[in-house]
């Protein structure tokens, strides 16, 4: 009888194993991670981290930044300015080839920028990248499809003219992943989802296969401007869970990964990872936003100031984030050139002062009478929830406010955010390029679609215009610092901490340069596996 049972079990095992047999992947392939599947692989329409990273892998921009924020040549090998600094003439790199082998020309760049600006493309980053270019508004209005300010002056020479009021930070803007060159024939013949059928870029890697929700398979591109990448076969596994990514790394299936905040201390104390753990700054601020349109007491500046003074950000950084993050007195991270946090590291618009905070509430006549406040937070990572809980506890302790931390699904969070419905919110902001404007213009200018807290101060908007019209970087940064001080004094946004990356990198992976942008990796062409 038992023999029969054993035979039945053995047959089951053989059937299950046999039915599940598939081909194993080839060895010797560089493997990194993606935090999720992409909605699209069109760099122009990207608004998610995955597409942003995929764009850095597959596409070519005119210029790029290194990990210290310096502008370096990429699609353009050099450039000059004329017309009082308003006209840029780019000499394109003749070595650049699309993934199908065709040389990249100035006409391709012109077409790609026109397409990015065209409202039909629905590119969220169009204004951030090209808003300062002559003729941008006409394209947005639908008067024309060609940016008047971008001219092809030779097969390998491109000229871009800027409006005086929109000149600021232009080269920084051109490092944005959306400012990539695309192969027109491939895009136009591929239909709306051309990226599923073809690899239309000119970046370091060509897309070989996109296995939805599983992985991207890339191959080194010999026609890349810096020559063939050091690694030929490259895969990015789509792994949304940070804990699973860490498991994959520990099991040797990923050559690098990010370390979730919740695992950082364990990893940092583990002697196995002493030489593999890399910690480097991230150009990200975690911030509390107060929305007077959705919570009337916040219309009184004294109430917002009281909130700002009741929060002990040093304690949040030290206890909630165990010293891994640093307290943020300003909004723009110190990696951004000329940022207030870099120029005046000790700056605090409102130092922690609970007694004064109580007085301010009393002066505003709302002490003990504030209605309950909901505090939603970004569900993408545990950091936001951790900070929100601490903020809620401090507001309760010092101001007697009834703050309810609201954990939502992604859809509810993003809907409330863009509709500006949240009375308060706890979010983070990470740069896609290192520029003051990426923080202040996008998040706090009253004309921006990303002004989630309904911050409106005409003087602030005027300073933003002034910064973007500044003739030198120094002048621009000085004006931005004034604008940042003003916004911090208004206390619509209250910076809490600046964050850092913790990555694990296998010893055999060489050339891994941490970047403060996006998810911390960018120069994929320099990565190599040693034997």
């Amino acid at each position: 009888m038992y023999r029969t049972v054993v035979i039945l079990l053995a047959v089951t095992a053989i059937v299950v194993v046999g039915a599940s047999a598939t081909a194993a992947p080839a060895a010797g392939v560089l493997r990194l991670w993606m935090p999720g599947d992409a909605y699209s692989l069109d760099p122009a329409v990207a608004s998610d981290f995955t597409t942003a990273i995929a764009s850095k892998v597959m596409h070519l921009t005119l210029v790029r930044t290194d990990s210290r924020g310096r502008i370096l040549p990429m699609g353009a090998r050099s450039w000059t300015t004329s017309g009082g600094g308003l006209v840029y003439t780019f000499e394109l790199d003749p070595r650049a080839r699309f993934h199908n082998g065709r040389p990249v020309t100035a006409a391709d760049w012109k077409w790609s920028f026109d397409r990015l600006a065209n409202p039909e493309t629905k590119a969220g980053a169009a204004a951030a990248v090209l808003g300062g270019v002559v003729g941008f508004d006409a394209v947005r209005r639908g008067d024309t499809t060609s940016l008047a300010g971008i001219r092809v002056v030779g097969p390998l020479r491109l000229q871009i003219a800027l409006r005086p009021e929109g000149r600021g930070g232009f080269l920084n803007r051109l490092t944005h992943y959306a400012a990539a060159v695309l192969n027109r024939e491939e895009v136009e013949s591929g239909g709306p989802t051309w990226f599923e059928r073809t690899s239309a870029g000119a970046g370091p890697f060509r897309l070989v296969r996109w296995e939805r929700n599983a992985k991207f398979v890339f191959e080194g591109h010999a026609g890349f401007v810096y020559g063939s990448p050091r690694t030929r076969d490259f895969e990015m596994l789509i792994v949304p869970s940070a804990a699973t990514r860490l498991n994959l790394y520990e099991a040797g299936e990923l050559h690098a990964t990010d370390v979730p905040l919740t695992d950082y201390r364990r990893v940092a104390q583990d002697p196995r990872y002493r030489d593999e753990l890399r910690v480097f700054p991230r150009a990200q601020v975690l911030w509390l936003g107060l929305n007077p349109e959705a919570y009337p007491p916040f219309r009184d500046r004294r109430v917002r100031q009281a909130v700002a003074m009741a929060i002990d950000r040093d304690r949040i950084a030290r206890t909630v984030f165990f010293g891994f993050y640093t307290p943020a007195g300003a909004f723009v991270p110190p990696q951004v050139s000329g940022a207030l946090a870099a120029v005046e590291p000790a700056y605090r618009a409102y130092p922690y002062d609970p007694q004064r905070a109580k007085q301010l509430l009393a002066e505003a006549g709302v002490a003990g009478r504030l209605p309950p406040l909901e505090l939603p937070n970004n569900p993408a990572a545990p950091d936001y929830q951790m900070a929100a809980e601490a903020v809620a506890a401090m507001l309760k302790e010092h101001l007697g406010m009834d703050v309810r931390v609201l954990r939502q699904e992604h859809a509810a969070w993003s809907t409330g955010l863009v509709r500006r419905e949240f009375p308060a919110l706890l979010a983070g902001w990470t740069a896609a390029y290192l520029d003051y404007g990426y923080y202040l213009d996008l998040l706090l200018d009253s004309r921006s679609g990303l002004n989630f807290t309904n911050y409106k101060n005409p003087e602030f908007d005027r300073l933003i215009d002034q910064a973007n019209a500044a003739r030198s970087d120094e002048e621009r940064e000085a004006v931005y610092r004034r604008a940042e001080r003003l916004a911090l004094a208004d206390a619509h946004v209250i910076p809490l901490v600046f964050t850092r990356f913790a990555h694990l990198v296998k010893p055999q992976l060489k050339g891994y340069e941490g970047s403060p942008l996006n998810l911390g990796i960018s120069e994929f062409w320099g990565l190599a596996l040693s034997r």
């Binding site: 009888m1 095992a13 047999a21 859809a411 509810a412 809907t415 409330g416």
Partner: protein, 307 residues
């Protein structure tokens, strides 16, 4: 039997309609808006209203539902609301085979192991093996699968390095842990039902008669008792298939398996209505089909059953 099958299929139509309507309305009543998700930083009330009109989301719910049913009748499941240009049928075609493979393997495993253990327990009812099995069944049904998954990943993937920890990047080896985790509760249920049915069958007169005729014990148990105990077992296997389908929603997320269940969860998080509706319809169809097959199999297993 064909008439019975047709009648059963027809009876499922109102069930499918009601379930489809519930899913259709529940998704739309939950907080979160695909229009806002799609527009992102381009969101403004005018653009949102235009896109809502373009997507047909401004029409009354009943009209939207009727339009949806009409499209489904033409096998047109529409386009994802979040990833424009991506057909829902393509999403299902890409991911359903992965989920079906996972679920089918889990049921094969659960069926085989459950049958073997159940029979072994029944033959030695009350003995040490039987008592151990009861304890194991209790444990298997009490510990949630995400806990078992984490434990197995830690042991076999991270510490011992003998099996992949996630994804389907290593062929059949990648499927071992997710299939085992998914199979544990159905195995416990099947073992329990097989044991109970077999204990009862082994007490029947025909078993005693078979033994008295001098038949080998294995033949008595497998050819006589097991065959007569088959009906509840087959029912349990069918129910377990439904369990495994729903269990896959958790297992695919934990093991990073690119199946339809994981796509469904992500669609729910994004309020991608068209994808959610299709995932539910597909799963409902599979569940109904399996149950129908189970019902029809009764006639094959027991000649006394007539339709």
């Amino acid at each position: 039997m064909i008439r019975y099958a047709l009648r059963r299929i027809l009876l499922t139509v109102p069930l499918v309609l009601v379930a489809a309507f519930l899913v259709f309305t529940a998704g739309r009543l939950a907080p979160g808006d695909p229009v806002a998700a799609r527009l992102g930083q381009e969101y403004d009330p005018v653009a949102a209203a235009a896109l809502r009109r373009q997507m047909g989301l401004d029409r009354p719910l009943v009209v939207q539902f009727a339009a949806y049913l009409a499209a489904v009748a033409r096998f047109d499941f529409g386009e994802s609301l979040i990833t424009p240009g991506r057909r829902v049928s393509a999403i299902v075609a890409d991911h359903l085979p992965v989920s079906l493979r996972l679920t089918t393997l889990a049921i094969l495993l659960a069926g085989g192991v459950g049958l073997a253990l159940g029979v072994a327990g029944a033959v030695r009812a009350g003995g040490a093996l039987d008592r151990t099995l009861q304890l194991l069944i209790l444990g298997a049904l009490s510990v949630p699968n995400f806990v078992v998954a984490a434990l197995l990943v830690l042991l076999f993937g991270v510490w011992w390095g003998v099996l992949p920890v996630a994804g389907l990047y290593h062929g059949w080896r990648s499927l071992v842990l997710p299939v085992v985790v998914l199979a544990i509760p159905p195995t416990a249920y099947i073992t329990r039902v097989v044991r109970a049915s077999m204990v009862q069958a082994l007490r029947e007169d025909y078993v005693r008669t078979a033994r008295s005729k001098g038949l080998r014990e294995a033949r008595v148990v497998l050819a006589h008792a097991l065959r007569n105990a088959a009906l509840p077992i087959v029912t349990q296997v069918g129910l377990s298939f439904g369990y495994a389908l729903t269990g896959a929603f958790v297992v695919e997320l934990i093991f990073n398996v690119p199946g339809l269940a994981r796509v469904g969860v992500e669609a729910i998080l994004q309020r991608d209505y068209t994808v959610i509706q299709s995932v539910v319809l597909v799963y409902m169809g599979i569940f109904i089909a399996v149950n129908l097959l189970v019902d029809l199999s009764y006639a094959l297993l027991d000649p006394r059953v007539r339709y």
